[in-house]
Point group: none
Chain length 210, copies 4
């Protein structure tokens, strides 16, 4: 049974407002993004903003949640493919998908994410970390030998945080010292080498114990 037109229209308006929020934020930054701008871009009256959102901050909150939701939705379906790849290819694939995702719509998300902290995006980061941790866990379980390596939590933490930030910074850098491929290759090599080296050390240890 379809929803009543009333609800559909309301949902469309909310979507238009959130979309407009992203456009305004990416175009003018958080300080210059006014409710008037958002309403104008959304094609609704300022009053309508307050029909659907408690206040301006609530719009940013929903934007934040939607950004994270979209990111998770981008990553989740990749998991089965990623876990079957060699680690370096998996990392490169994930980074490239992330890059494309951030650069969609003239880099709207990329521009927004740079201002994220100014509008408390951080509050809704959890699902993103969860899905990335899940990818990592599924990967490790698909490659049981890697379960023996040390410092898995720390590596996940560093890989996720360092990786996300390095990519965002690189994409935002008008004149980066290295190419994106070099960055992705570097991250892949770093993780790859860590695993290789750990496995070797485990092996050597096992051999000496025997």
């Amino acid at each position: 049974m379809p929803r009543t037109p009333r609800q559909d229209r309301a949902r469309a308006t909310v979507d238009a407002i959130v979309e407009a929020g992203f456009i305004a934020l990416s175009q003018r930054g958080p300080a210059a993004t006014t409710t008037r701008h958002i309403a104008e871009i959304a094609g609704v009256g300022v009053g309508s903003l307050y029909e659907y959102f408690e206040n301006k901050e609530a719009i940013f909150n929903v934007m934040s949640q939607r950004f994270i939701k979209d990111t998770v939705a981008m990553i989740k379906p990749l998991t089965p493919t990623l876990v079957r790849m060699p680690i370096d290819a998996a990392i490169r694939t994930l980074l490239n998908e992330f890059k494309d995702f951030l650069e969609m719509n003239d880099g709207r998300y990329l521009k927004c994410v740079r201002h994220a902290m100014a509008v408390d995006f951080e509050l809704h980061l959890d699902p993103l970390f969860q899905v990335l941790n899940e990818v990592i866990m599924r990967y490790l379980m698909s490659h049981p030998e890697t379960l023996q390596i040390r410092r898995i939590p720390a590596m996940a933490y560093i890989g996720i945080n360092g990786g996300i930030f390095a990519v965002i910074r690189h994409l935002s850098d008008p004149d980066p010292m290295i190419s994106f491929d070099e960055l992705a290759d570097g991250l892949a090599a770093m993780i790859g080498h860590y695993i290789t080296q750990e496995l070797k050390e485990r092996e050597a240890l096992a051999a000496s114990e025997t």
Copy 2:
């Protein structure tokens, strides 16, 4: 039109304003930091702000420059010590010094740095990247065998950006999954393993070529 301070009293006022800027920024964030707050914390009249700064943004600019200057001043003298250490110890030492630096004055700098992008800290980041690159280069030259490893620029980029961000995020995280020591150990191990593995591969390659 702001004038350059010529008297001692004037210089003290300028310092008080910049200091107040850090306190206000760390307490309330950039959007809620008003000229009145800064003046109040500095213990001066609002008018005095404009005796020495073109406008509010100019205060943030000077703060940004001072933060970077202080960071560089913290790192630079460590260089001789760091380059003589094993890589993992060097990294752990640097990260711990960075942590202490950020947590000085009740974490004033840490709280400010989270809002960095909102106040164009990026514009003045260069000296920091330069000094960190210099540390890396000096380290590599003190350990000539490491000069053979591949992807040095990418590793420097990843190490600096990923490292800085991972530390900041960890210190800002009210409930981190890992301890700071685990984080530092992880970063050290990751870089350390990368170098070890690279050296081994070089060796193997050299052996096979003979």
Copy 3:
């Protein structure tokens, strides 16, 4: 960003603001006329001023234009009557109408015009000079013999500027040495005598040439 009024209510607000501008300007002068005063007198919030005007100066500009428009609207319909009168009666009539116009609404316009230069009234004076020049030209054409007199442009310039200023100064003077009727009579006689004398000289010249 000021918007163009689309609703009736909006138009009424704009009018109230301009009206309040005249009242405030006449009461306190340009330096002491603040946006808050204007808003208060208009019975609207300060914010409303900026819904319809770019800034404070824009209000003064519109006031200036409206003043000139009103003056022109007062003079234009008089033209047919004036051109049929003897010159001295025409001048006296025009001056008296101008006096009444300036003294309307407790002399609001008179008080404003004294501060004219401080708010760039001059920028919009052209239409006033045009209509006065047209009156003069129509008068001369209705009295073809006067077309022979010399120095018509200079006389127009002097008559218009000197006349306007003499009237304004007289009306503003708390203790003038002469009555307004004496002033009007004097201006009428001066212009009248000039024309008479010129015509006589032309006549004498024509006679001597025969």
Copy 4:
């Protein structure tokens, strides 16, 4: 006995401040003329302004008085010469002297006088009107036949006010329709014709009475 150096210096400082006031006012207009500017141009500290003047307005008052004093000092010595000239030559001479006076020092006085009303110059105009009235009276007494003409007070009022304003407006007009000579000639002719015509009418009247 010479004044003490102390008093001399004080007088020089006062002069420098008033001079600076004229320069600032002519350069930037009344709204943009700050005490800081005046002090800077005068080469003294802001504090010194308040050693010699109650407040900013007092500076403008003294400026106003000095302007009028200078104008009077320019006109007074001309009187003996003027009264011996034919009326039109006298008027042209006076207007040209006035023009030169206003255009001295890159038009400093001219630029100031346009802002006069914004700073209450008008308050001190009396001596100027007195001296101009005296010139007129002396002229009339030097030409006793003119004492018979009617409307002398009105003509003086119109001539003085209309004349001053017409000259100031003309000199300020970037693109005047007539030349200054034409303006001066026009004013001279207008007054000249008035007198001529009046004398003729008196004569005719006298003849008819006989």
